[in-house]
Symmetry: C2
Subunit: 237 residues, 2 copies
DNA sequence: CGGCTGGTTGATTGGTTTCAACAAGCGTGG
DNA sequence: CCACGCTTGTTGAAACCAATCAACCAGCCG
């Protein structure tokens, strides 16, 4: 169970040993990206995807000269289609927030594996649905959650996603994002993120120190965030 | 060219007469939904999708008792997967904003048609990519565009999408949304939408009367909105 | 040590919400 | 037919949340 992708996909539908072996076979060309640099588009194969093996990355979009919005976070076990940005290379980038390792899955390999192993195909399809649901939920957060609710919701989402791939305990998870990153994700300034963070700490809900998030009251946090994990589509277990 | 879906898909990749015929064959069970009511989930076939034949609909998400966010708009020619909300029926609904007619495409039919007609498969795949890009762009708008920029961007997006299916002229398009709808889309109150709308009119960029949008200065509007249509993935023509 | 990044704090400004009232359009029923 | 209610749009004043600007602190690393 070394591979987070394998672990995550098995949370969408049960995978046999054969499925798991095929998945490993599909992973090619591993590469490392240094923190705070852009992950270059895969030239040649427009239907290839990257699997994030370790580290955190993000999709972001620049508006004008001094505005930048992080539109999604990519965690270990996530799939990202760089083809989605082939057409818009000018203004949409995927970049590493920490040191990141990725493995390429070619379009041909993807088709081969998903037709030979329907369970894998189903799991990958559900992964796509979950990704879309996360994106919608970010829209909801930005559209109608208050500052403190947004932050609470993000913490719930990330804790849940990381726990699904074995990278979080019941109460803690790694949290390499800076307050500036959080600000660009949640549509606020880092100054205000800072104050909101203090408020959450004051309410004894979470604390964030030394790149680690500790959740003191998950129920309270979820309630404040109006967080309902069903949209992430993980099955129990 | 009566069907908007056909017209839209042909904007992603050229379609042969056979492709078009197959697409028509795939459309089943047409049904009508009255304005301001929910479109019920398709029970039974979780991989079936709906094609919007006419009218405007939206996906929306309720938070608490009095907050509601419209997360996406569904226009004629759009596909929507009601399976995406099977798992979260409680809090995510698709509802008609105007009278709407939809046609069901069963999961089996979808697979059959896309394997027999690769061009159709490609076009539908690209449609999915474009939908995801639109969702990301809404995230960007809510995250870092000002009130007036958001409204300008939405107008550009909708005009472009409607023009792609032949429902808009160079300068006008139907616009059945109320200011309250706009507010729930753009994360603001209808009062503020009202004032922003007046500002856009004052700048001679657009006017909105009698359920019709008139764009007086598309270049100016796009500039104000930081609108770049490439993300919609329509090919020229 | 110096310089850098990331975090913290305070004072001020400003964009939006909220609340409240009112006008216009429209379909319905007395 | 007009009255009535309902939805949609419009306007003003006050309150508030978050941005801005600016300064400062802590930790880290070359």
């Amino acid at each position: 169970m070394s591979c987070e992708l394998e672990q995550k996909l098995s949370r969408y539908t049960p995978l046999s040993n054969d499925d798991r072996q095929e998945l490993r076979r599909a992973l090619g060309r591993e590469r490392t990206i240094v923190a705070r640099t852009e992950i270059p588009a895969e030239s040649g194969d427009p239907s290839a995807v990257y699997a994030i093996l370790s580290g955190w990355a993000c999709r972001s979009r620049q508006i004008g000269d001094n505005r930048k919005q992080i539109v999604s976070l990519l965690l270990p076990g996530d799939l990202c289609d760089p083809n989605a940005f082939l057409l818009q290379r000018a203004d949409h980038t995927i970049s590493a927030l920490t040191p990141v390792t990725v493995a390429r899955i070619s379009g041909a390999m993807l088709r081969e594996v998903t037709t030979l192993n329907p369970s894998l195909g189903l799991a990958i399809h559900r992964e796509g649905l979950a990704t879309a649901a996360v994106q919608r939920e970010w829209t909801v957060s930005l559209g109608c959650r208050s500052g403190i609710e947004r932050l609470a919701h993000l913490f719930c989402e990330l804790h849940c996603r990381l726990k699904a791939v074995g990278l979080a305990t019941e109460t803690t998870c790694p949290f390499p994002l800076t307050q500036h990153d959080l600000a660009r994700m949640l549509g606020q300034t880092s100054v205000h993120i800072n104050r909101t963070l203090q408020e959450l700490r004051g309410l004894r809900l979470v604390s964030l120190r030394a790149r680690q998030l500790t959740i003191h009251d998950l129920t309270g946090l979820a309630k404040m965030a109006h967080f309902n994990p069903v949209y992430l589509r993980f099955t129990a277990g």
